[in-house]
């Protein structure tokens, strides 16, 4: 099927052909386990206001042995080969699997930035295998917002920079809606498969046990919160030292002026101006990007938990109602 992705000028994304989704899933099944992440390249083209993703290929898994493996080389080779067999070979982004929704990281930001910098319409597809395993396909497309792009371009992650750009954790990434479009034949096949599948398979969705998933989420949430606190403490220290220095500076200036005044009254020339910035080097401001990312990550976790719990509550109520009926 084709996946259409709407980018800045593209409004939505179409994943044409099941093939792309299947390939991504297969890639994870084969190579990713646990918290390990698999990545790959998306190929496709922009049609009108849609980004159609028509194909993809995985990045080979890194091992310790082939440290000198050239990824770029591999991509070029791959795309050339695809062109030879006349398949779409335009690079339109990349995909990545995620572990319990933990994908907002510096690495993702950096690589998406470089993609988006080079190819304007690039997207990153995040595939959540665990949610998918629970019965609902979880595939999301993200792009960096133009504001964040600006900041990344300038590499200005200071507090002021972020404030000026008014970037918060909420508007770092923008999600692009996905539409999966299949050919009629595949649709027919799907219908047939659904008919054949057992009842139990169909109602995987209704599974009530939720503890472990939630626990895991909480665990990771907690880790992030810890990081956040650390970051805040760091920032706190910074601002404290900054204010202290400001005071010193202020005192120094006052003293200097007093002295100058005295000298003037005595008819002496005033003291030469000194470079205050040299005397008082401002402390190194901690980069705020990390805390922003952590906040973003916490946000996604919260979203997941919220979503999950609301679903579960619904299920529980349903089960209760059913039980009441039964008894």
């Amino acid at each position: 099927m084709t996946v259409y992705l709407w980018t800045s000028h593209v409004k939505h994304i179409v994943l044409s052909r099941m093939q792309v989704v299947m390939k991504i899933i297969k890639h994870y099944q084969e190579e990713g386990q646990g918290s390990e992440v698999v990545q790959g390249v998306l190929l496709g083209l922009v049609v009108e206001d849609r980004l159609e993703i028509t194909n993809c290929f995985p990045f080979p898994q890194h091992t310790e042995d082939d440290a000198d493996f050239d990824e770029v080389q591999y991509q070029m080779e791959m795309m050339r080969s695809l062109r030879h067999v006349n398949i779409d070979h335009l690079h339109v982004g990349w995909y990545q699997s995620t572990f319990y929704g933990s994908f907002v990281s510096r690495a993702l930001l950096d690589s998406q930035f470089s993609y988006q910098h080079a190819i304007e319409e690039s997207v990153v597809l995040i595939y959540d295998p665990i949610k998918t395993a629970q019965g609902s396909l979880s595939l999301k497309a993200y792009r960096l917002t133009p504001k964040l792009m600006e900041i990344c371009k300038e590499k200005d992650f200071s507090t002021e920079g972020l404030k000026k750009a008014s970037v918060g954790y909420e508007n770092m990434f923008e999600e692009v809606p996905i539409v999966i479009r299949n050919s009629h034949l595949i649709n027919v096949l799907l219908w047939e498969l659904e008919d054949k599948s057992t009842v139990a398979d169909k109602h995987e969705l209704l599974n009530l046990s939720s503890g472990s998933h939630l626990e895991k989420c909480l665990q990771m949430l907690m880790d992030r919160v810890d990081e956040m606190s650390q970051d805040i403490v760091k920032y706190n220290n910074y601002s404290r030292s900054l204010s202290k220095q400001q005071q010193q500076k202020h005192q120094y200036v006052q003293r200097r002026q007093q002295e100058n005044a005295q000298r003037q009254s005595r008819g002496e020339p005033p003291l030469p101006e000194e470079d205050l910035t040299k005397l008082f080097k401002p402390p190194q401001a901690p980069p705020r990007m990390d805390s922003l990312l952590i906040a973003g990550q916490i946000n996604t976790y919260c979203q997941t938990v919220k979503e999950f719990t609301s679903q579960n509550l619904g299920k529980l109520f349903m089960a209760e109602a059913l039980q009441g009926q039964g008894s």
């Binding site: 626990e215 907690m222 810890d226 805040i232 706190n236 404290r240 204010s243 002026q257």
Partner: protein, 972 residues
Amino acid sequence: MSRFFATGSDSESEESSSAEEITPKATGTAFNKQNLLLSDDEEDTKRVVRSAKDKRFEELTNLIKTIRNAMKIRDMAKCLEEFEQLCRAFLKSKAIVDKEGVPPFYIRLLADLEDYLNQLWEDKEGKKKMNKNNAKALSSLRQKIRKYNRDFETEIANYKENPEQSAEEEEEKEEAESGSYSESEDDGEGVTAKSFMKKKPAAEPAPEASKFLKGAADDESESDDDDDDEIWGSDSTDSGSESEDNEGNAASLALAFLKKAQDGDRQADRKKEERKRRSKRKERAEEEAEEEGLEQEGGEWEKVKGGVPLVKEKPKMFAKGTEINIPVVVKKLNEILQARGKKGTDRAAQIELLHALAAISEENNLGQGIMVKIKFNIIASLYDYNPNLATFMKPDMWKKCLDCIDELLDILFENSNIFIGENIAEDSESLAVSDQPFRVRGCILTLVERMDEEFTKIMQNTDPHSQEYVDNLKDEGRVCNIIDRLLQYLENKGSTEEVCRVYLRRIMHTYYKFDYKTHRRCMGIQGESKSEQDQEESEGEDSAIIMDRLCKFIYAKDRTDRIRTCAILCHIYHHALHSRWYQARDLMLMSHLQDNIQHADPPVQILYNRTMVQLGICAFRQGMIKDAHNALLDIQSSGRAKELLGQGLLMRNMQERNAEQEKIEKRRQVPFHMHINLELLECVYLVSAMLLEIPYMAAHEFDARRRMISKQFHHQLRVGERQPLLGPPESMREHVVAASKAMKMGDWRTCHSFIINEKMNSKVWDLFPEAQRVREMLVRKIQEESLRTYLFTYSSVYDSISMETLAEMFQLELPTVHSIISKMIINEELMASLDQPTQTVVMHRTEPTSLQNMALQLAEKLGGLVENNERVFDLKQGVYGSYFNRDQKGGYQQKQGYQRDSDQRGGYQQRQGYQRDSDQRGGYQQRQGYQRDSDQRGGYQQRQGYQRDQKGGYQQKQGYRGGYRSQNQSSY
């Protein structure tokens, strides 16, 4: 400077006076040799300090020599350096110069140096070639000497006018001087031959001098004959062809040769001296040289014939026919002692001399007083033998020392009428045999203390795994014996302080020894073999009683804090070693040593550490696991137990410790036989940590604020976890880690088998005197703690569990199980109740599930986060406040700063704008359901109030848990 000697060198003086300064090396030594010989034969009689003048002049000549050498090789930098030193030395000898006039050789150097420098300065070519350093030195030196020479203008002018004359003058003066030397030698006071020897060779010209000097310098370490060898070596080269063949085999024969030669030369020297006195001018020197030559040859002849026994020399200590009485001996003794501590004094010879003196005084029946005095000095000089504090005594010296002290004590015991004391003045001594008691200056206690220290040093410096160590250790008995005898002696005669000191020595030799005899008696076992029984009989009273008696005396009488501290520590150690836990603990607590031990000196601190460790081990043996852990925590947690106990140095960077410190630390080391087994220590610590930590970990599995009881134990656990492949445990640590893992599962049998098995027995447990009892205690503890762990870990799985099952599982009696569980319930560790009729524990499912736990943790963490956030905000507010205040204050202080001030105001307003900004945040907070009024501060306080509420709510929740439990309990 060679001219200085040239006069003395008789054979070539004519030549040398006119010759260049460089030539008369040979002559210089020839003269020197005479003096040496002269000195050697007379050294036995007189060794006294040389005069200040000689010393100063010698220093000057030395420096001048080096300067001349540097001049020769055009080393300006060296020249400059030496010149500066020379100036300084000259200043130092100002007093003498004032008296004697400026020495001509000094003037000569100044003149020469100036000429030389000017010459160099003119030589543009040469200057260019010179390297930068040298050129710089040259110019600065030139300036310096110009300035300096201004002070000596007249003298230099004189010298330049008539260099010959001044040289001769100098010679004359020298002549006169040497004459006076010999005279003074005859008189037996002032300068002696020895000093002469010291002075001249030092001033000798380059090659020979250096050779000799080396010998002289080395003589601390080398024995007498080595020294003589050296002298002989230089002699032979100097005196020319005939001696050269001797040189080869000099080594072995040298000593004999020398002594002989000296004997031979002796008369010659006498003659020479006479002649010196008689003749006034140079011609005399020539004659003398001839004579000398002859005599020397004669001497050599004799040498070749063979050695004459050394003994021959000994009686020469006193002139023949002198009546040997006490004043003479004392005088002699003082003479010998005056050389003490001087550089180049041959210490071995000194000891010999003292022995000889002792023998003489004994021969002549001079009485015990003088004997004691001489003995004191022998021992003192034995201690002096090693110039360095770090080196230890050689075995033979040590033996001698012990013998001497023994003899001294013998004398003291036999003659109760001898009074010794440090404060008896030299003059008020009464050594003569008379009705009055002897009074001798000296302190036997100091000597014995020093001996004890030497013993420690010997033990420190012996390889503890060698037979030598065992041999040395055998001397411990003698040392103890001596201390015991001294103790008896001082108990009768000494002052309280002295008694305290000697008591401490005794304690120090007792506290670390385990009293097997008493132990066995307590155990009710008779000594099995006969030898053991003998040993038992031979041993005195119970060491505990001795310790008690000695320590209590010290507690009562001591006035120095240090001795009492040491005594207390030793006492505690001794108690702990013999498993008298309560006494030891009480003493430790009563002494309050823990509070102020950090002010003590390092050796006392080491003793304290040792005591604490021993206390901990004692507590462990008694089954007081917690006490044991607490006592050992400080030592073990640092990871430097070895260093803290003074049982070895840790490898560390040189930055942290330089060589000097290392030496000091080495001196603090405890001898090996007193060591506490570090593996035992660690094992005890780890096992007690395991017994405490594992149940604690199980109880607080989900507690976010769980603290570690023992970091080191956790570290070991982590190390164990990191292992990729877990084999059966090998080392003691691995055993403990494996046991901990088993205990975590509540599997006491496995735990037991890991803690107590063959390997661990041989490594650790058998080292305890009551190994079996300790093992039983351990098993018991393991069972109990495993039960607790099991209940903590698996209580959530059970609805109820029968106590009988538990008792069976952990092989404990029912009452014990009952008591353990009751205790857990009372301490609110276990949410359960006991059902009496069925003997079961009924669990209350009040423990939160893991998800709930997680949520609680998260809530707590978020609380922390919010707090931190508040702090950031707080800071901003605080800063503004302070800015504002300070501005106001500064406002009226400085008037001209008004402009800026208003700027500041503007800034403040801006910030107010920011505060409005932060209102936005407030909006966010409102969304969260906080109630805020428009006032920022009020809102903030309210928020804090909210927080408090939140916490309260949380506590309520906990309270609910408690309530639930209490409800249950009451229902039960």
